[in-house]
């Protein structure tokens, strides 16, 4: 402790005091902002939407929630105020956003994606929470089953329609034996998705090849590695990484003459032959329907989790012709199929 004896104690302590003062000043600033933020401004309900990162899934579901609120007759800035926050992929910021929501005490919190739900399970105890775009809420810790769950939470599961997808492969490409996909081992939802696809595929006598990919710059190599193993068709499962890079995957697969079936609606335009899509816009709207029940006085504990209510089938005849896939005549004119050019 030589340095402290060299100076007077008062002088040595000054830098600490200065920093502590700065600390106190920032904390005080937050308190002041709180005071102004919580003042009544004539708006009846306050909602918060918390998202983990920026992806097509988060954009679609956010728009779905906003449109859903309009469709249940609420007017923005008059009946409700929705403040959206996005952690931009940073987990420590995500925690702070949940703290901010707890401090703010809104009437209801919307959340999208699995990491956000996990953090909310820990942080939010007494504000109603409605989640969406979560593949498996049970795995994320939101409850023991779809009916028996945390008392302040309910929401929408967007697990893909893998059974449906396998059925479509069988219908359109009856000779297919091997299906392939890229997946992201670092995303819990991705691993869950390939396991589900594998389950239904094996049940139908199909073999699944899954090639791992870790970052967006590896997508090209991973796709080439997958196509070199000659699957009959690529059924690309959903995760944040591959859904942002699906254009690349489809382009390379096309060069290698392997058709792609997808689970996200924008893939049909990019050249996928068929897309069996959980509608993420609808997932947002469905979350609002559950929120409506809570606003009407029902307890979230009594509202079971639900699967997203609408599954879209999109068909791209141009892509089908390119791969010389002859579509069964029975498909034409079916109202549940959207043709994409």
């Amino acid at each position: 402790m030589k340095f402290s004896s060299a100076k007077s104690t008062k002088k040595a302590a000054w830098p600490f005091i200065r920093v502590l003062l700065i600390l106190a000043a920032i904390a005080a600033a937050i308190l002041v902002i709180n005071k102004f933020a919580n003042q009544p401004n004539g708006i009846k309900k306050r909602f918060v939407l918390i998202q983990f990162n920026d992806s097509p899934l988060s954009d679609l579901s956010r728009q779905g929630i906003i449109d859903g609120l309009t469709s249940i007759g609420l007017v923005s800035k008059k009946d409700y105020e929705l403040s959206v926050s996005n952690a931009q992929g940073d987990i420590t910021t995500l925690n702070l956003m949940l703290d901010a929501a707890v401090t703010d005490r809104p009437d209801l919190v919307f959340i999208t994606s699995t990491p956000t739900l996990q953090a909310a399970v820990k942080k939010i105890r007494d504000i109603p929470v409605v989640f969406t775009v979560v593949a498996d809420p049970i795995l994320a810790g939101a409850g023991a089953s779809f009916e028996k769950h945390l008392t302040n939470m309910t929401g929408i599961s967007t697990l893909g329609d893998y059974n449906g997808m396998v059925g479509w492969v069988k219908t359109i490409m009856p000779k297919a034996r091997v299906i392939g996909t890229l997946y992201t081992p670092s995303e819990a939802n991705s691993v869950k998705n390939i396991n589900e696809l594998k389950k239904y595929a094996e049940h139908a006598g199909l073999t699944l090849i899954a090639v791992p990919v870790f970052s967006s710059q590896e997508i090209t190599d991973a796709t080439l590695s997958l196509t070199s193993r000659k699957p009959d068709v690529i059924c690309q499962v959903i995760d944040n990484l591959t859904s942002s890079s699906s254009g690349t995957i489809i382009k390379i697969a096309r060069e290698q003459k392997i058709p792609v079936f997808g689970f996200v609606s924008d893939q049909a335009k990019k050249g996928a032959v068929l897309v069996v899509s959980r509608d993420y816009h609808q997932a947002g709207a469905d979350a609002v329907k559950l929120a409506k029940k809570i606003l009407d006085g029902e307890s979230p504990s009594k509202i079971p989790f639900e699967f997203v209510s609408r599954t879209e089938i999109l068909l791209n005849p141009e892509a089908a012709a390119f791969f010389k896939i002859s579509l069964p005549a029975s498909l034409s004119g079916r109202s549940d199929i959207t043709i994409v050019k």
Binding site: V19, I26, I30, I33, G89, I91, N95, L96, A119, E187
Partner: protein
């Protein structure tokens, strides 16, 4: 108020990260990217052991040891194989990604109802006050257990900061600091600089892994992607602390690293509370940090100008 308590708690947990970054960045003068892997390593070891039923304290200590091994490995690659420090860090960080997936067996482990260190801290609230009720503070109510979590984290960080100070003041620690300044001189004194580097980086990453282990227990899950961007966080905290405290002796630097981390989190909290458009969050955070960094210099200049 929950936001302030939460921001300070996370700031203190990440203060261990900035202490680790302080060792590699300020003592050995290189940005050790191993940090991004060892945060997650700590989290994944702690999470998988706790879920497997081991006591949380043991799990946290093993996480610390795991971080030490990762850091030493970077040190060995750097010193024995003469690979550039930055690249050694990148190599170990890259390898740790797969290691972390193996440790957890999947990409994400949530704590359901497992007992963690933070459960103990929360229970202390009931032990000390006989109640786990909320208390009123500055016009809002705070669950008492959140305050106890904050207090316990503060105690842990203070003790570790003190231990680090004593260690770096010891003969061994002094030789370690000297290694960063002037390797040749230290070698001339008969000290093995390679050992200093390996132990130093080990220590740095042990603290970082501990930070990851605590963060996972605090937030209730470990995720393989949670280390991304952590080195930048740590560097920012160390530098903010250094600039604000304005003194270069060891005790001040250590305290600066801790307080810098807390201040950084509070600045993010202010940005959040101002209700920025979500896409601008990182821009605003960067702007706040920039202001925090230049403010002391501007004030000093002004004060200097007033003197005759």
């Amino acid at each position: 108020m929950s936001l302030i308590i939460g921001a300070i708690t996370i700031g203190l947990i990440l203060a261990l990260l900035s202490l680790g970054v302080f060792i590699s960045f300020r003592i050995f003068n290189f940005a050790d990217l191993t940090a991004e892997g060892s945060v997650t390593l700590g989290a994944s070891i702690a999470a998988s052991m706790i879920v497997a039923g081991y006591p949380p304290l043991l799990a946290t200590l093993i996480a610390l040891a795991g971080g030490f091994m990762a850091g030493s490995l970077t040190g060995i690659i750097h010193t024995k194989f003469k690979i550039n420090g930055l690249l050694s860090g990148i190599l170990v960080m890259t390898a740790l990604y797969s290691v972390n997936l193996h440790v957890m067996g999947k990409s994400n482990i949530p704590f359901m109802s497992e007992t963690t260190l933070f459960t103990y801290f929360e229970n202390l609230a009931t032990v000390f006050s006989g109640t786990s009720e909320s208390v009123g503070l500055f016009g809002s109510t705070i669950p008492l257990k959140d305050i106890f979590v904050l207090a316990c984290t503060l105690i842990i960080v203070t003790i570790l900061g003190g231990l680090l100070y004593l260690f770096l003041k010891s003969n061994f620690g002094t030789a370690m600091r000297a290694t960063g300044n002037n390797q040749q001189m230290v070698r001339a004194q008969g000290v093995n600089t390679n050992t200093m580097m390996i132990v130093g980086l080990g220590l740095s990453n042990a603290l970082i892994a501990l930070s990851g282990a605590l963060l996972a227990q605090y937030q209730g899950f470990a995720d393989v992607q949670m280390g991304i961007g952590m080195l930048v966080l740590g560097l920012a905290s160390v530098i903010i602390g250094e600039v604000l405290i304005g003194e270069k002796t060891l005790g001040y630097l250590i305290t600066g690293a801790i307080l810098g981390s807390v201040i950084f989190r509070l600045l993010v909290a202010v940005a959040l509370r101002l209700g920025m458009p979500p896409n601008d969050l990182k821009l605003i955070t960067a702007l706040f940090v920039f202001i925090a960094l230049i403010l002391p210099r501007l004030l000093k200049k002004k004060r200097g100008a007033e003197k005759p």
